[in-house]
Subunit: 214 residues, 2 copies
């Protein structure tokens, strides 16, 4: 699928061998992550807001209340940095210094634009719910006019973007490998528990297949 063009902002400098600029890696991280952290400055002061995101092709989307300060700031066209991070493990080394984490992260720089075409906006909301629970959009009550208007959807193009990935065991100093200290990786992953039915669930409503644990 090709690589993103590397810019001064996206070039990974610290431990540069962890930098990835290919679309496949970037897309996979964006698609696995449920939330991003969206950064922007208002009068020079930074804000970092956690929010759900989703991707369709070369655009990443966020949404929120049309009344939200954040969404209003963003749709005015301020620069943003959207970061998605997946924590994959604790890297336990033989020295304090070489402890690390395994992770995959993506940073997207740019300006978000309002998705105001109603068809495109509705399609984007369907794509979002399909990411969370494929097939669910067709089962739930669709947005009514008021809900649709109360929701703002913003799109950010995947143009200035990079990923950074750490995998594998610790890298210790050669002379430390002989130390009698346990070293390795403690894997971590965001794991689904047993679905908890709403206390007001209509009797006899089955759990859909897409929510059953794999």
């Amino acid at each position: 699928m090709g690589d993103y063009v590397v810019t001064d902002r996206t070039r990974v400098r610290r431990v540069h061998q962890r930098g990835r600029y290919d679309r496949e890696t970037v897309h996979a991280i964006l698609d696995e992550g449920l939330i991003c952290h969206l950064g922007f400055a208002v009068e020079g002061r930074p804000f970092v807001i956690p929010t759900a995101h989703w991707r369709d092709g070369e655009r990443v989307y966020v949404h929120g209340s049309s009344a939200s300060r954040t969404l209003r700031s963003l749709k005015a066209g301020v620069d943003v940095c959207l970061t998605v991070t997946l924590v994959d493990g604790l890297v336990m080394a033989r020295s304090g210094f070489h402890h690390s984490m395994n992770y995959r992260c993506v940073m997207v720089f740019g300006r978000a634009t309002l998705v105001d075409d109603p068809d495109e906006k509705m399609a984007a909301l369907k794509t979002f719910l399909d990411k969370i629970a494929p097939g669910r959009w067709d089962e739930v009550r669709p947005p009514n006019d008021q809900e649709f208007k109360a929701t703002t959807v913003l799109a950010l193009p995947l143009e200035e973007v990079s990923a950074k990935v750490r995998t594998g065991p610790p890298v210790d100093d050669e002379e430390d490998y002989a130390l009698p200290v346990w070293a390795g990786v403690v894997p971590l992953s965001l794991t689904q528990g047993s679905p908890e039915p709403d206390p007001r669930l209509a009797p006899g409503t089955p759990l859909p297949d897409y929510l059953a644990k794999p």
Copy 2:
């Protein structure tokens, strides 16, 4: 333990009943989260960097390479926003609109300062490793002079801070409760897998108790 003073930046506006300003809630979220997302602006352009953090009393710490652009920007005294988010579940409603997530997040605003007293810096690094793996600091090789100098530790006071928390089942429109759509919460949590020993682990090195799965 008392509440943080609410400021214009920390007052939760959207769904304001989710706002929490008590130290107990804020501390618990900061302590459970392994990573934060640190936002700051350089020449007006925002950056959001994932990094490990830890807390000691009313200060939250981050660290990194002394050569890092990020750390050098921060220690110059720029405004930052440090956000920690824990994703607790998918909230599946009967309408598309009322889908949500259960989460706990904390936002800290302020300016980070360099921890340059060597004793204080060493104590902070110990506190960090103790958060990840209590007792491990005493087992691993401590930082040598070169490693200690190559590490920058920054502290951010917990002064301008708030939390936002969503828990519980979906809140649907009254007329939607009768719909034959499964609704409830799909719990999510960051879960530890089986520790993976380093291929070069010294033979006979036991897995420490603090890494065994509960």
